[in-house]
Amino acid sequence: MMTEIQTETTEVQTTRGKVYVIDRGQTRLRAGQGLLTGLEVVFRHFRDALTRKLEKPSQQTGVFTVQYPEERLKLPEAFRNFPILLYDDETGQELCTSCFQCQRICPPQVIHMTQARDPATGKPVPAVAEFLIEYDACMSCGLCAEVCPFDAIKMDHEFEYSTDVHGGLTLNKEALNRPISYYEKIAPTFWAEVKDSAMKKLQGNMKRRPDLIGVAPQMVEKIRAKRAEAAAQAPAPAPATTEAAPADKAARLAAARARAAEKAVEAAPEPATDSAPTDKAARLAAIRAANAAKKSEGAAEAAAPATDSAPADKAARLAAIRAANAAKKAAAQRDGSEE
């Protein structure tokens, strides 16, 4: 009754794809044979289900249960659940430019965003200040991801969102942000298709974003540290001897001061009627930064014969420029508030 030869299916490759041909055994059965054949088939399933799992589609028998929380099926790349926002791993810059396309197309209208503005000029910047998606009402249609011209919004594979906290399903920008590397992991071919154009557009947009605007919130600290480090490491090459060090330090100090000033400006309440103190502080910082820059320039000159001081020089200059910017910004703000 039981044959050792497994009635395994054979795979046949046709022009239109793979076809599984199943051997069903005898087609014509005599009286009562059908009953026995049925019993034999069921017993074969029983026996094989005790010993093996169903692994390939050509297999006819074996346990096909996937014990979900412990075992998981590999999700296809095109699987989509809820949208996420992407940011660049390196610079922390978000790909979103707040063009409002996704907000417009969203059928259940669960996407909300505000555009970032340059605090200095008050003009809109191609970056998003805050981004909200109500996951609880999202219908996972994926239109937002399709319409996005900057490939900034993509559909995630994460689907275990059950919760008893209803409000927890409204996610802000920080919660929505994912590095590009994450998306590349879950959908490698999809990202490869759009990678070049997306990164090119991002480069263009980054130029129009002043300072840390458009940097993913969770990356701000890191990027700040990175920039400071970059500024600090600028004169790094060669034996940076003792002379180079002070210059280096001075430059870093200048940069830090300039940034502090900038922050102060940023922190200043926009409709500030009395902007004088911050203003003053900014100006003070600018002066200090300039001094520091000058000093560091002197130091750099002093160090020049010893090493190639150009980078240090550059750092100092950068600090100066920043300080100037900060001053300008403060001035603009003051003007604005005075008006």
Binding site: A31, L39, V41, H45, F46, A49, G62, V63, F64, T65
Partner: protein, 453 residues
């Protein structure tokens, strides 16, 4: 049990009290045994059917899902007991009890092991059949009392099925009665000692040289003279190995499936047609009671089939251990109880297997099957059984000189009986199957069908 208690506390208590206590103890043990088996059967059925369908089945509660029945029981206990507004309250309440009680009573006469029988009843087979029929009343009460058309339909189907399948079942059991010459279930396993096909007919030539491990004293076997003889006993002389027993077993087992409402005969509770049949309006523990009744009925019918045809507790080694005497008798009893349990579980596995393989029959197919196939086969089998008794036990005078087998040895007579009945049974089975075959489709000549203008 009574004797053990008598020897322990015989002087302290009056005898009637000891008997009462003994029977209460035995009843408790048997009921616990049955319910324990019920719990394991529910678990096993779910697991085995799951494997047959390439699934895993319940495997989360406890090791391998073994505690699942406990979780289910807790669920059943905490469920609301709903009685429909227009239901007959008392009938609705009593129905599960009336369904369960006779099933539990069936357990009283089954010999669970060598020397382990709750009651020695000389009409045990009749008692089994009669009592199991009572549970049909419970089903009818459930259907009627629920005041629900599905329940009533289910009950009608259940009763119709029970009544019509009792006939082949009883007729198949009649062969056992003829072979055993009595209705006591207690004697059946003893009669099925010996070796396959030949039974206990291979006698010991030299009474002194026969090892008690292989030969045991048989008081009565088909064809034996009345005095005890020493016969080769491997504990395998089950009647299922003879043509008469095989056919009887098949007919009885199929009828038992129908009586126990197992797939493919689960018409009374066909959930795809009539919700859950007579159990439609039941919930909580009342539903659980029906459920228990059904499984214990299956358990009891499996035990009956095993006892009647598969040798009951008879198996290799039981007789040898019993012959060694002393404490080994208890070991033999335990081994024999294990054999019976194993047979019950194998039969239960076959029930699950059939459930996994076959779809449900239609009502008319069910009736056709019982009346046109099983009953004629069972009747033929009665004739064969009578022939076996005649060929193995009757003297020439009893035959009226028609057949003279007096000069033959018991094993020769047994062989003749087996051959004759094999021919009869195979021929009858083939003939009855062929006359029951679906008539051939008439092939129309297409040109003839064209109506002339």
């Amino acid at each position: 049990m009574t004797d053990i208690l008598r020897s322990w506390i015989g002087s302290a208590l009056p005898d009637w009290l000891i008997v009462l206590i003994a029977y209460l103890l035995v009843t408790t043990i048997v009921l616990f045994y049955a319910v324990g088996n019920f719990i394991m059967m529910v678990w096993a059925e779910r697991r085995v059917v799951a494997r047959m369908q390439d699934r895993l089945g319940p495997n989360r509660v406890g090791p391998a899902g073994l505690l699942q029945p406990i979780a289910d029981a807790v669920k059943m206990f905490t469920k609301e007991d709903i009685v429909p507004r227009n239901a007959d309250r008392w009938v609705h309440l009593l129905a599960p009890i009336v369904a369960l009680a006779p099933v539990a009573m069936m357990l009283a006469v089954i010999p669970w092991g060598r020397g382990w029988e709750p009651i020695d009843l000389n009409v045990a087979l009749l008692y089994m059949v009669a009592v199991s029929a009572v549970s049909g009343v419970g089903l009818m009460m459930a259907g009627w009392g629920s005041n629900n058309k599905f329940a009533l339909l289910g009950a009608m189907r259940a009763v119709a099925q029970l009544v019509s399948y009792e006939i082949p079942a009883v007729t198949a059991l009649l062969t056992v009665v003829i072979l055993a010459g009595g209705m006591s279930l207690l004697d059946l396993p003893y009669m099925q000692a010996g070796v396959p096909i030949m039974g206990a007919t291979i006698l010991c030539g030299d009474p002194a040289g026969c090892s008690p491990l292989l030969y045991s004293t048989i008081t009565s076997f088909p064809g034996s003279p009345s005095e005890p003889v020493q016969a080769l006993d491997l504990g395998l002389g089950w009647w299922v190995f003879t043509p008469v027993g095989l056919l009887g077993f098949l007919v009885f087992f199929i009828a038992a499936l129908a009586e126990g409402e197992r797939t493919p005969f689960d018409i009374p509770e066909a959930d795809s047609e009539i919700v859950a049949g007579y159990m439609t309006e039941y919930s909580g523990m009342k539903f659980a009671t029906f459920y228990i009744a059904q499984y214990i009925l299956n358990f009891a019918l499996s035990a009956l089939a095993a006892t009647a045809f598969l040798g009951g507790w008879q198996g290799p080694g039981v007789a040898a251990l019993a012959n060694m005497g002393g404490p080994w008798v208890h070991v033999a009893a335990a081994l024999s109880a294990f054999y019976l349990l194993a047979k019950i579980w194998i039969l239960f596995f076959v029930m699950i297997w059939l459930r996994g393989a076959f779809p449900r029959l239609r009502v008319d197919q069910l009736m056709d099957f019982a009346w046109k196939l099983l009953l004629p086969l069972a009747l033929v089998n009665i004739m064969s059984a009578s022939l076996v008794v005649g060929l193995t036990q009757w003297t020439s005078a009893q035959w009226g000189g028609l057949v003279n087998l007096d000069g033959f040895a018991p094993w020769q007579r047994q062989l003749i009986a087996v051959l004759v009945t094999a021919v009869i049974n195979i021929a009858a089975t083939y003939w009855i199957l062929s006359i029951n075959q679906r008539p051939k489709q008439v092939e129309w000549d297409e040109e003839e069908l064209v109506v002339a203008p």
